[in-house]
């Protein structure tokens, strides 16, 4: 690897941002149409939504591949100064902060529902008349296993699959930290096996979570349509699951980069970004486990 530059690298013009916007546009237009065409809530007699969405997603994957290819080339070509490395790191941390706030919206919704909406619907405080006039039979409880309009579900217990998944995810954070220490110490073999185990645990987690969803839909009657508890359960664990998948892909990419002998010379932003992201996903899970499954 060549010497690191000290000046700030401003890349030449690049087609990927513009093409990335085209990709997002296709996803939005295709996704919106596909949603309307595949559900019954809104009349939309077109048929192209799914095709446009598929093109958009593939397009976007292509753009991401090419864009990151450029930055990886620049990185191993020594164009990234230390100052630029700091830019990437700070950028990643603020991105993770934005993700925290995204989950914050759902956690806020959950606490508002548990502490205010449900007691009010149950007749407490200023909501008493709603209870009296609309749903006098509704009992305030959390999880809401019987909705005001009478839909029923069973709650997801905490100490079965979710407990196992918690153990898996916490273990994966430990193995990832082992890999991280090995990375800093330059022990490539140890990075590979520890990161490999992390990735396997990540995939097992996703599999277990998928099975849990099947169990919820098939055995518990816990669905998206099951009222506020089901809504929160699936959106919170679902968005967490999407982040697990993204984090897994990120770890897999950096695993292959370590295989190609990247990252071992201190030029390890991407690797550490993946690790930060994984720890973030792990912390979100802990909050989910405590507030959604357990309490």
């Amino acid at each position: 690897m060549s010497e690191k530059t000290t000046s700030y690298y401003v890349p030449d013009s690049s087609p990927w941002p513009l093409l990335g916007s085209v990709g997002l546009f296709l996803i939005a237009i295709g996704g919106g149409n596909y949603l309307q065409q595949s559900t019954s809530k809104v009349a939309n007699d077109g048929t192209m939504g799914g095709i446009v969405l598929t093109i958009g997603v593939l397009w976007m994957i292509g753009v991401m591949f090419m864009w990151w290819r450029d930055t990886i080339k620049e990185s191993i070509g020594g164009l990234h100064s230390e100052q630029m490395d700091r830019s990437y790191r700070q950028g990643m941390l603020w991105f993770i902060f934005s993700e925290v706030m995204f989950f914050g919206a759902f956690f806020g919704a959950m606490f508002y529902a548990r502490w205010l909406i449900v007691p009010w619907l149950g007749g407490e405080g200023t909501g008493a008349m709603t209870h009296e006039l609309l749903w006098p039979d509704f009992q305030a409880m959390w999880p809401v296993t019987t909705t005001p309009d009478g839909r029923t579900t069973q709650a997801m217990g905490a100490w079965g699959l979710p407990m196992i998944n918690t153990a898996i995810l916490l273990t994966s954070s430990v193995t990832l930290s082992i890999a991280h220490h090995a990375l800093l110490a330059g022990d490539r073999a140890k990075v590979l096996w520890a990161q490999g185990i992390t990735i396997i645990l990540a995939l097992i987690f996703t599999g277990v979570q998928g099975y849990e969803y099947v169990h919820a839909y098939r055995d518990l009657g816990l669905t998206l349509e099951a009222g506020i508890y089901g809504s929160l359960f699936f959106l919170m664990t679902g968005f967490h699951g999407i982040h697990v998948v993204i984090g897994s892909l990120f770890l897999i990419v950096t695993f292959f980069r370590v295989l190609k002998r990247h990252h071992m010379d201190g030029n390890n932003f991407a690797w550490e970004a993946a690790a930060w992201y994984w720890h973030f996903v792990d912390v979100v899970w802990l909050f989910l486990f405590i507030t959604v499954y357990w309490l």
């Binding site: 603020w94 934005s98 909705t147 839909r151 809504s231």
Partner: protein, 528 residues
Amino acid sequence: MADHHEHHAPTGWRRWLLSTNHKDIGSLYLWFSFAMFLVGGLLAMVIRAELMYPGMQVVDPDFFNQMTTTHGLIMVFGAVMPAFVGLANWMIPLMIGAPDMALPRMNNWSFWILPAAFSILIGSVLMSAFGPGNPPAPNFGWTFYAPLSTTYGPASTDFFILSVHLMGISSIMGAINVIVTVMNMRAPGMTMMKMPLFVWTWLITAFLLIAVMPVLAGAVTMMLTDRHFGTSFFDAAGGGDPVLFQHIFWFFGHPEVYIMILPAFGVVSAIIPTFARKPLFGYASMVYATASIALLSFVVWAHHMFTVGMPLAGMLFFMYMTMLISVPTGVKVFNWVATMWRGSLTFELPMKWALAFVILFTIGGLSGLMLSITPADFQYHDSYFVVAHFHYVLVSGAIFSMFAAVYYWLPKWSGVMYDKFWGEVHFWSSLISVNLLFFPMHFVGLAGMPRRYADYALQFADYNWWISIGAFWFGISQLFLLWVLIKACFLKKGEKATDEVWEGAEGLEWTVPSPAPFHTFDTPPVVK
């Protein structure tokens, strides 16, 4: 590695479409926001044409609702926010002595997402106005409260939701770029407390953006699943609550208000010292006041919802927190006035706009203080008084500060002085018309005229006629600005600007030539 900085500026379509240059991307943002300002203004003209006389005149009520909705959305997300991002792009690297924004490619992506997002939103308006069968555009108000936007939202709502997602992605990436640039790219010696206040206000704005745009994304996502996947977030029958939507929306919405005004504070804090020929009074207190406003903005959101119903303790808390915001805001106004005290003032156009900002924004701030009083808000809520309030802070506040910024920095951007005659016409014409437009709204609002209706009771007729005259006048006045911009940017006609441009101007941006060359500060300047 110096050869990487010696490449020639790209030309033609590549320069604009594939740019990684903060100045070009800044110009794209500014022109885009000006275009959206004119589009959003056109929708406002439809609103005022309908309201010029009582009774139904020009459009049907549903289309009127679409106009108020999309006017608000386009002005907030398409005009004001991108305008300030454009300013940030142009000015922050110049002000802190950086060669570019920290993440130049992501910068371009942030911009090009906006045309994608707004072509979706404006597309729904065009389909509604001209399309076969005229499917309605979003018609539930810019705040898109559930259940109007969930159970009763038209088909275009789904596309609106996705376009909001795109705007959010764009804003978050833009904000990350600003923070990283400011934290990491300052020239040697440019300590935090030496930064121009515009940089400070944008740093804090960027923090607000990263904190609340994801919350908005969460809110529209819940709308989407409520609409299509049977979830019950905003449906009491399933154990949810439409009021939950309002809480989440305003948790985003109130910081959003400050996102649109903090950079304006920064602009005015740059301009007033220049034309008073005195350093800004109370620089440190300005920084702390900005930070206080930003932090308080997270704990005042429910003042938008007093009439919705909440526990008494909640009303009191949100009332007092809201009132508290007038303290740091008052500090700012005091500091601007104190900067001018015993200065040797001159009144070039940027200064005129800045002064108009200080006075008119303060009027908007005071009506805001009136609205913060919970029992009084029960009377003012959803009346034209509210419309008057937020147009004073957004039009004669945020947008006037943008005009001030444009006249202030245009010579630096284009290399020529603006056309003084048409600039003066633009200023006086806008100043008089904006007051004719918005001041009477206070009266009709206090007298009980509700907002967002296509018709009104007869006693409001006279005022509304004058308001509409003011609106058309203000709208036409902006064409003078268009001419000033075309003349300076494209025809390059006008007096050649010097590097310093303004006699009393201080700051790194005035040390580079006018127009600013394609690359500046490749080697960072040293700040004493």
